[in-house]
């Protein structure tokens, strides 16, 4: 087996899906929080807080706090406004002035008392905004008007402004005015060209500073009869310790996902172990040959969660696989023809079934997607799920061209570990690794104490698809000690 690293995909954290979705408890209130990224830094992100289960609030406040504990004092929180037409929904703008990781404190006061939660949010420049045609035309028209107007003023100044009142300009003055307007025109053209160069320089500088995940490579080597995937973080910022160290999320420093390009099948979810601070190894399942997209979810101690990307070409296959980690899993549905099925039931490896309760309405980009599922036995009884890495379910979804890849939990798009860093970090925690160590120590207890998944076999995920297109979903749950993966296809308008 040989591996060839190919071009890195140009992507963003939670690939191609910059908005944050969170569902959880703020004290006695269950809330769904959506933070729509500004796409630029500094910028205004829009936050929406929806109270679930019919709850009502007197006030909802939001406050983004930068992860860096050097912050002397936060500004006062903003009071979110009730969205007209729905008294359970509140919205506000978040002023994110510095790029990086923020904990957005959402506080609710109402008849049930007060409650608060923290939603990790990233402020990133992720897109380059085109100048829309109507605006461009309008500006060009106004610009031309101002240009000609300026020349006319220059001409009038030379031709008439120095004449005694009532006098008419003679031929010489008329020509002087024309010449002055011409000279002014040359200077103005120069100024416009200079302005254009300035604009281009700003645009190029902005493009250079667009967010890119840490540079990484994925490669496969043969060791005896088995194949080993090595993920390496090769970014100079990482190697020179300019960024915060990794912390485990759901018990693992790295969650690697491999999807064969085109067919979106097979799919693997692996958890490499660290060889050193930059290299991570995992035994590779017997994946068939092909070009694979490799996504690696990591969370840094700053609460910065991102998805590293690379591509990998596998040639041939091995049959021997001893998983590096018991949480590793892979699936090949055999549906290699890339046909998009709209079925809402997937048969799992143990014969149980996973049903997508999607309703009849079409999925629309940017609108809440009904990502609710039920796992039932062969005879239709609800399955009691077991925690899989401390949580009831993991849902991965990818657009067929790979431009969107998201790893969801019932809490949404957030990294659980990132949320914990904001809860665990003290104001004096300025030493690298302190919060990570505290989190690692606390995590085992937290995961074992995690609330058991509901006995109803139901799981749901707060999310809205970012773009229209064909998507494949992989939903992973655990039952009777087995990791079960259900695969669904859907089209989003």
């Amino acid at each position: 087996m040989a591996a060839v690293a190919a071009a890195t995909l140009a992507l963003s954290a939670h690939v191609g899906s910059p908005d944050t979705y969170y569902e959880g408890s703020a004290g006695p209130y269950r809330v769904r929080v959506i933070v729509r990224s500004a796409g630029v830094v500094p910028g205004l992100a829009q936050i929406t807080v929806r109270l679930l289960d019919g709850a009502r609030a007197r006030t909802v406040t939001v406050l983004p706090v930068y992860w860096d504990p050097r912050t002397a004092a936060p500004p006062p929180p903003d009071t979110a406004r009730v969205v007209s037409g729905d008294s359970s929904v509140y919205d506000a703008a978040l002023w994110l002035m510095t790029g990086g990781s923020y904990g957005v404190q959402v506080a609710i006061a109402g008849p049930l008392g007060t409650g608060a939660t923290i939603v990790p949010v990233l402020a990133l420049a992720t897109r380059r905004l085109e100048l829309q045609k109507p605006l461009a035309l309008g500006l060009a028209a106004f610009g031309a008007f101002l240009f000609i107007g300026a020349l006319t003023i220059i001409g009038a100044a030379v031709r008439e402004s120095v004449l005694p009142p009532g006098a008419e300009p003679d031929r010489r003055r008329v020509w002087s005015g024309r010449i002055a307007a011409g000279a002014g025109g040359v200077m103005l053209v120069g100024a416009v060209l200079g302005g254009r160069s300035w604009w281009n320089a700003v645009d190029q500088g902005f493009s250079r500073q667009l967010y890119r995940p840490l540079a990484s490579t994925a490669a496969v080597r043969r060791e005896g009869g088995r194949a080993v995937l090595r993920l390496s973080i090769v970014d100079s910022a990482w190697r020179q310790h300019w960024v915060a160290p990794l912390i485990p999320d759901h018990g693992h420093l790295v969650h690697v996902f491999m999807v064969r390009a085109g067919a979106l099948d097979p799919f693997a979810h692996l958890h490499p172990v660290f060889v050193d601070s930059s290299d991570f190894d995992a035994a590779l399942p017997p994946l068939p040959a092909g070009r694979y997209r490799v996504y690696a979810d990591i969370t840094r101690e700053s609460g910065f969660a991102e998805t590293l990307t690379d591509t990998l070409t596998l040639q041939g296959s091995t049959t021997q696989w001893h998983p590096t980690d018991p949480d590793d899993a892979w699936i090949e549905t055999g549906n290699g023809d890339r046909g998009m099925r709209n079925g809402d039931t997937a048969t799992l490896g143990d014969g149980s079934r996973m049903i997508w309760n999607r309703g009849s309405a079409p999925l629309v980009a940017g609108q809440d997607a009904p990502l609710a599922f039920t796992v039932v036995t062969r005879d239709g009884r609800p399955v009691t799920l077991e925690p899989y890495m401390g949580i009831s379910a993991h849902l991965m979804l990818s657009r067929d061209d790979g431009t969107v890849f998201v790893h969801l939990h019932p809490q949404g798009t957030i990294s659980w570990a990132a949320q914990q860093t904001f809860l665990l970090r003290g104001r004096a925690d300025t030493i690298r690794g302190v919060v990570g160590r505290r989190l690692t120590q606390a995590e085992a207890g937290m995961l074992s104490m995690a609330a058991p998944p509901p006995a109803s076999g139901e799981v749901s995920f707060p999310y809205a698809f970012p773009r229209a297109g064909h998507y494949r979903l992989w939903l992973q749950v655990k039952h009777s000690g087995k990791i079960l993966t259900g695969v669904f296809d859907t089209e989003v308008r």
């Binding site: 002397a72 004092a73 936060p74 002035m97 101002l146 008439e160 009532g166």
Partner: protein, 394 residues
Amino acid sequence: MADSAAALVPTPLERARADALSPPWHVWAVLVAATSAVVGVIWDISWHRTIGRDTFWTPAHMAIYASGIIAGVSCGWLVLRTTFAGEESDRATSVHFWGFRGPLGAWLCIWGALAMIVSAPFDNWWHNAYGLDVKVLSPPHVILALGFTGIELGAVLMVVALQNRAMGEGPGRAKPYSLLLAYGFGILLLNKAIMGFEQIGFPQNAHNGLYYEVCAAVFPFLLVAGARASTLRWPATTAAAVYLGISLIMLWVLPLFPATPKLAPVYRPLTHMVPPPFPLLLVVPALGMDLLMRRLGTGRDWLLAPLAGVTFLAILFVTQWFATEFLISPASETFLFGAQRWNYNSYPGGWEHRFWRIDIDPATPTKLAVAAVLAMVSTRVGLWFGNGLARVRR
């Protein structure tokens, strides 16, 4: 200059206009507009340094855009009235523009108002595309600045035309306009000081080469142009005093208003608006330039330019070099000097009491020589412009 301008023989129409001793309403309107722009910009900078976040509808922004509205509407009305319903004397003191008639300054004010309108959607797009920058200089901000600079220059042109027409009406007839002209140049000085806020705004910059190069390139032009066009005895000094006066009013008034930061990180728990830094003491070099211009008179501009340029730089250098040593010291931390009032997000440290960037941009003899050349060129161009202004009559 006064001699040459006085030689212009006033016509009956000029006399009719000059008889109206009080400046017409549109002159007051454009001067209010010009003031509103600079006050608004200083206010806006303070807003960003104190509160941090803003919207289009902040009072500071309203003051800036009020400038465009006041100037645009008043001059638009003036042009329509002059073209279609004005008296013959009004049309006689106007210039043609695409079939319409109005004073030259009014056209510049209208142009400036339109430029300000254009800058608003451009600036909005710019913030959406590249982020909520808090820079003074960005392409849309430059268009906005061109707009209100056009209004300020338009106000100067309207006043100077009235002054020049009133000069033949007897002693003292032009003086009210000359005072308003100095006021207009004071506003322009303030405008340029604001545009160079990042290079010359803070006393901590005053030991940099760039500080003197920017000052030398910008201020002599305005000081000599205003002086050459004026009938006052101390025109440059008066204009510099206007700049100093408005700056000090802003320095003393802004901190009276309560305000707290609304953006993180808050390193300084502010309770009131942060005032601008203490202004440059331009009155001192301006006084020197006035003396020199009075001694040399008109007709020797090629001699005056190098002398006045070097005089400006030498006096400015001595004044600012030592004055800023006091202004960055803890001794200046009083209400009077407004020093050491820093942004909510500026990390406390010893840098407040140090001169900045003196390791990479010290004020070396070479850089001062460059500044001297810039001052000479700026003075010469300013004299040309001032001579032109002295002839404006419409």
